[in-house]
């Protein structure tokens, strides 16, 4: 069963996602803040449950916190990124369509690279970045010649998908990193609280 803090963080994540806000750092800072506040509450003599409830109440309604992030410009960054992804994808498709361009390996590399960079910058819904960058080459092929063999060009999407998911995984690993408790043991947010109360 999830602890009160984990449930709160899951609600906060949902509220952030519903506003198109994606930043694992926000959740990690919230997790650290709530752990600190809970620890202080326990030190003041509260039970773990009461300390968690107080920490959550003081942090604020997840809806209000997410709204505040939305109003501080995070949504704009997401939209700009999407526009940049579409522009990049169109540019790559244009270059790939040039008669003088016959290096499919470079196209595949560039699709994977840019999707990876976008997946790393906004590590959420990597399929959006993969499609925004990679859909244009198969789309162009199908529009020019609607056939099953053109549909096979959808295979091209494997490259940006691989890149975007790899970028997301790298970013999440870098931002979140391994948690280390006071005893030096790798731990999760929940077991940090467990070790705190013992």
């Amino acid at each position: 069963m999830k602890s009160g803090l984990e449930e709160y963080l899951a609600r906060l994540e949902l509220e952030l996602k519903q506003r198109g806000l994606v930043d694992v750092r926000i959740l990690e800072e919230a997790r650290g803040h709530l752990a600190d506040a809970t620890e202080k509450g326990v030190q003041r003599g509260l039970s773990l449950e009461a300390a968690e409830r107080e920490a959550i109440a003081r942090f604020g309604d997840p809806n209000v916190v997410a709204m505040k992030f939305a109003s501080e410009g995070y949504r704009i960054r997401g939209r700009l990124m999407f526009a940049a992804a579409v522009a990049l994808g169109l540019a790559i498709a244009f270059l790939d369509s040039r008669p003088g361009w016959d290096d499919a390996g470079v196209t595949a590399f560039v699709l994977r690279l840019f999707a990876g960079v976008l997946g790393a910058i906004v590590p959420y819904r990597p399929w959006v970045w993969a499609l925004a960058i990679g859909v244009w080459i198969p789309l162009r092929a199908f529009v020019l010649e609607p056939s099953l063999s053109s549909l096979a060009m959808l295979m091209v999407l494997a490259f940006p998908f691989a890149g975007a998911y790899a970028g997301m995984a790298i970013r999440r690993a870098l931002v979140m990193g391994p948690y280390t408790s006071a005893t030096g043991r790798p731990t999760t947010g929940t077991s940090t609280l467990a070790s705190m109360s013992s």
């Binding site: 906060l12 919230a30 942090f59 604020g60 280390t180």
Partner: protein
């Protein structure tokens, strides 16, 4: 104090809270509460959007750091932030002096 009243002053308060030494979000919230004797009792989660905005504006910088055995994002004033803080402190003192002069009451 109602959060609405803090609008326009929050940046100054946050910059001032990390003036003496770098601090993570929870410590900043504690500092605001303690220095204001409990008056600035904001929903603590709403401090983070403002901290992130100040960082994007180049007034703060942040890094992950080990605090009491746990990883915390620690915020620090940049040179630009120090200049902004000095300017905002000056403006605030002028403003509060003028308000006091009009409103009266205890200094």
């Amino acid at each position: 104090m109602h959060a609405e009243r803090l609008k326009g002053h929050l940046d100054l308060l946050l910059l001032a809270a990390v003036q003496d030494h770098p601090a993570h979000g929870y410590a900043i919230a504690e500092t605001l509460l303690a220095r204001s004797s409990g008056t600035f009792d904001l929903p603590e989660g709403t401090l983070y959007p403002a901290l992130h905005r100040l960082e994007r504006a180049g007034l703060l910088t942040s890094r992950w750091s080990e605090v009491s055995g746990r990883r915390r994002r620690v915020y620090q004033l940049t040179a630009k932030g120090q200049r902004a803080l000095a300017r905002q402190q000056h403006e605030w003192h002028d403003f509060s002096r003028a308000v006091r002069a009009v409103v009266g009451g205890p200094a």
